[in-house]
Point group: C2
Chain length 109, copies 2
Amino acid sequence: MTQNLDQTFASLGDPTRRQILIMLLEDDMAVTDVAEPFDISLAAISKHLQILTRAGLISQEKRGRVIWCKLQMHAMRDAAIWMESFGQLEQVNLDVFEAFLKDQTIRFD
Amino acid sequence: MTQNLDQTFASLGDPTRRQILIMLLEDDMAVTDVAEPFDISLAAISKHLQILTRAGLISQEKRGRVIWCKLQMHAMRDAAIWMESFGQLEQVNLDVFEAFLKDQTIRFD
DNA sequence: AACGAATTTAACTATATAATAAAATAGACT
DNA sequence: AGTCTATTTTATTATATAGTTAAATTCGTT
C-alpha cells in the first residue's frame, strides 16, 4: 500500500512522465510514438515508461514488435484518494477549530 | 508551475514525509517533536522537513530556539487539482468514446 | 560566561533517477 | 538469410535522496 503510493507519487514528480500520462489519456500509444514529441532519447523514454509501469500508472502490452502503452487509472486513483482524505481531515479539523472559536465567543462575550 | 508540481509530488513519494504531513494535520510541531515517533536521526528528519518546505507543503517559523513546522495546503491542493483534472479529462474522453460507439451502432444496425 | 537544548551543517556511504551513446534483441518483411 | 524497425540493455556520467555520526550554530537560562 505505502510502497505503491511511494512509487505513484514519485512517478508523478517528473514533468516528462506527467506529460506522457496526459498523452495516453487520448489513446494507447506505441513507445516510439510516445517518444516522438520529446527532445530526449528513445532510451530515456523507455526508462520513464518502465518507471510508470512499475508504479502501476500504465501497462505495456507487446503485440508483434510494438509495445503498446495503456493508461491505468487505479494507481492514480489511490493517490488521489490519499490526497482527498488528507483534505477532508483538514476540513474536519477546521470545523473543530471553528466550533472551538464559537464556543469561546459565547463564553467570553 | 511544473517545477512546483515536480517537488510536491516528489515530496509525497516518501512515506516518512507523508507521515509527517499527517502529524502536522493535528497541530503545528517543533522539529524535535516531529522526529520523536521515528526511528531515524534528527538530522534525517531535518532534511525531510527541508524538502517539504522547498515543495511548499509546510512552512517553518523560528520562535526562540524552536522551529515550528506548519502545514501549508496550497501546494497539495495544486497537486490534487492536477489529478482531478486528469480524472475529468478521462471522464470526458470516455463520454466521447461512448458517443462514438453509439453513433456506430446507429449507423451499422 | 557557561551550560544545555534545538536544530543544522559537514562529511561520508549507498542507492535511485535522468540522460546519453552504442550495442544487443526481437519481430516483420523481402 | 539478411534487412529494417521497435525497443531494451549496457556502460557511463551527473545529480538527488536517504541515512549515519560528529561537529557547529543558535538561543534561553542559570
